[in-house]
């Protein structure tokens, strides 16, 4: 028996869970497959986070630092779990470095994978250099280089943001809403307008889903203070006339086809299940839900339960998730893990 906890994945959910467990004196092994902690916000170089407006490097960087400095948390970078066996109170994980990690409970905070825009070739990503993703625009901002057209470094005068790239699209087997792209896009649109006041930003949408309080802070504010324009249209294709990108579609509100030139087109890419989810599912013997995310066995009774007792899940591993909710779920799953540990200990 051991009361240690194994956490797989060092993004916001995993960092939050590790910190929560260590803060009440529990030993944690945090396994991270890449060479650095922080998850998507750090790896993908996010700029200012939604909804706090804090820089990702500060906000998530602070969480990373807190975990890295905690003596109760053993961080194993560049490491994956190869084998996983046992029962609550006594799990054994064989790691890629050959070592074995013992754990009374396990948390999967394995996150998501950004949608690869190459899978929507009609929208020009990979064909035209000035078609970029929201992640790339985040990097342009976080690197302080500013929003520029990759083809020649010029400041764009007109930018189109296409929502639901890799979301709500049966053609490519992705029927889910990725939840955060609307707010992130509104946020980026405001960032662009702030940096380049002469640049007009158009958002092409099917619906705007800036849920809850994000409505005023992002959707309304982007229109009222930053004069971002929203057009209800799903774009048919992005081509080029040699100088500019040509965006074709139907403006549904005027029932007329549009063929509009743009300097830059931004794909608001969605959240796919982690590409490793099939592997994770077989190693940890946890079920995936129909979209390919890790299935939650229980909605109301136990937070973050998977189909396997003693193994819990939190954050975007369970489906498209915001950073703050991932953190909250990390805490909640840590609590569930403690409960499972106590039960196993009492049965001993």
């Amino acid at each position: 028996m051991t009361d240690q906890v194994l956490i797989v994945g060092g993004g916001p959910a995993g960092l939050a869970a590790a910190h929560a467990l260590a803060s009440i004196g529990r030993k944690v092994t945090l396994v991270e497959k890449t060479e650095l902690l922080g998850g998507a916000p750090i790896h993908s170089g996010y700029a200012k986070l939604v909804p706090s407006g804090e820089w990702a490097s500060d906000a998530i960087g602070g969480m990373v630092k807190r975990v890295a400095q905690n003596r109760l948390i053993e961080v194993k970078l560049n490491t994956t779990v190869k084998k996983f066996a046992g029962a609550p109170g006594d799990f054994r994980a064989t790691l890629s470095d050959g070592s074995e990690a013992r754990a009374g409970a396990t948390l999967l905070t394995t996150g998501f994978t950004h949608f690869d825009s190459l899978n929507k070739p009609e929208w020009g990503f990979g064909t035209f250099p000035d078609v970029v993703t929201t992640t790339q625009v985040e990097q342009m901002i976080s690197s302080k280089q500013g929003v520029r057209c990759p083809s020649d470094g010029r400041k764009p005068k007109r930018v189109a943001i296409l929502l639901c790239v890799g979301s709500r699209d049966r053609q490519i087997g992705r029927e889910w809403c990725s939840k955060i792209c609307c707010s992130v896009s509104a946020n980026l649109a405001m960032e662009i307008r702030e940096e380049l006041p002469d640049c007009h930003v158009y958002v092409y949408y099917m619906d705007i889903r800036t849920f809850g309080l994000l409505e005023t802070k992002f959707y309304w504010r982007s229109q009222e203070e930053f004069k971002v324009k929203y057009i209800k249209a799903r774009i048919a294709e992005v081509t080029s006339n040699g100088q500019q990108l040509i965006v074709k579609g139907e403006d549904t509100l005027v029932k007329r086809p549009i063929t509009i030139p743009f300097d830059m087109v931004v794909h608001a890419i969605g959240m796919d299940p982690n590409v490793d989810n099939m592997l994770l599912s077989s190693i940890f013997d946890v079920k995936l839900e129909p979209h390919g995310f890790i299935d939650r066995a229980n909605t109301y009774g136990v937070m973050g339960a998977t189909s396997r007792p003693g193994v819990f899940v939190a954050g975007a591993a369970t489906g498209p998730e915001t950073i703050d909710d991932s953190i909250a779920q990390g805490h909640a799953a840590a609590m569930s893990a403690l409960g499972a540990l106590n039960l196993a200990m009492a049965a001993e």
């Binding site: 229109q223 009222e224 209800k232 403006d251 005027v254 007329r256 086809p257 549009i258 063929t259 509009i260």
Partner: protein, 247 residues
């Protein structure tokens, strides 16, 4: 090619040639009808800013196209082509040619302000309609609407004299809108009044018509108001990219 359902196509988009030869083949008559593309090929980004620069148009950029204004609209209930939601959209997106198609009905807004109270985003659609009608006039797309003529006759008089004299307003309005002064209803009203022989009133009317009474010491106020109006008009014309003076 022969097009049978021509009523489905906007007349200005139907292109017919009396005589046409393509690649040596005579396609005159029935076979020479073409449809112009209706593709929107660019946005006029200045349009929204121009409307927003006119009184009433300031909040147009807030619109999210819910349709509350059109649903609430008094005029829309009578004329389904009167659609504030649609025009706000055209202005926001800069589809000027589409907007101009409706130039002769936009001024029909009766300013009941039902839209103003229905709008969840405080766009003030009534103000936008006013600003749009104003824009159409300033740009020369429409003649001054009857209500503009009335406003000008009324305010010019007040600014000039510090007073409002009804008979002068009515005369000016009829003249400005090309209407006969001897309107049936006016004659009926006057006839009905004459039955009571209002001698004093008629003398007053005659005197004011001849002498045009003024508010005492009005000239300073008049000059200040005139300056202010000129300043506002110059600003608006500048925002619309027009020359400083009215032609």
């Amino acid at each position: 090619m022969p097009i049978h359902e021509k009523h489905l196509i906007r007349p200005e988009n139907l292109i017919e040639h009396e005589k046409l030869v393509i690649d040596g083949v005579d396609v005159s008559g029935h076979w020479s009808t073409f449809i112009a593309p209706r593709v929107v090929t660019d946005y006029n980004e200045a349009l929204q800013d121009e409307i927003a620069a006119l009184p009433g148009g300031e909040n147009i950029h807030r619109c999210w196209q819910c349709g509350s204004c059109t649903n609430a609209c008094t005029v829309n209930a009578v004329n389904p082509d009167f659609n504030p939601r649609y025009w706000i959209y055209l202005i926001r997106m800069g589809m000027e040619s589409e907007l101009l198609r409706d130039k002769d009905i936009i001024w029909q807004c009766v300013s009941c302000n039902k839209c103003t109270y229905a709008c969840p985003r405080d766009v003030v659609p009534e103000g936008v309609m006013k600003a749009t009608a104003h824009w159409l006039e300033l740009k020369g797309h429409t003649k001054p609407s009857p209500s503009t003529v009335f406003d000008e006759v009324f305010s010019d008089q007040v600014i000039e004299t510090g007073l409002m004299e009804e008979s002068r307003t009515v005369r000016g309005f009829f003249a400005g809108t090309g209407q006969a002064l001897m309107q049936d209803w006016l004659l009926a009203m006057v006839r009905a009044m004459l039955v009571h022989l209002p001698v004093k009133w008629l003398m007053h009317l005659g005197l004011t018509t001849v002498f045009q009474p003024r508010t005492k010491n009005w000239s300073r106020a008049r000059d200040a108001i005139k300056d202010y109006v000129a300043e506002q008009q110059a600003e608006q014309r500048k925002a619309l990219g027009l020359s400083a003076q009215e032609h």
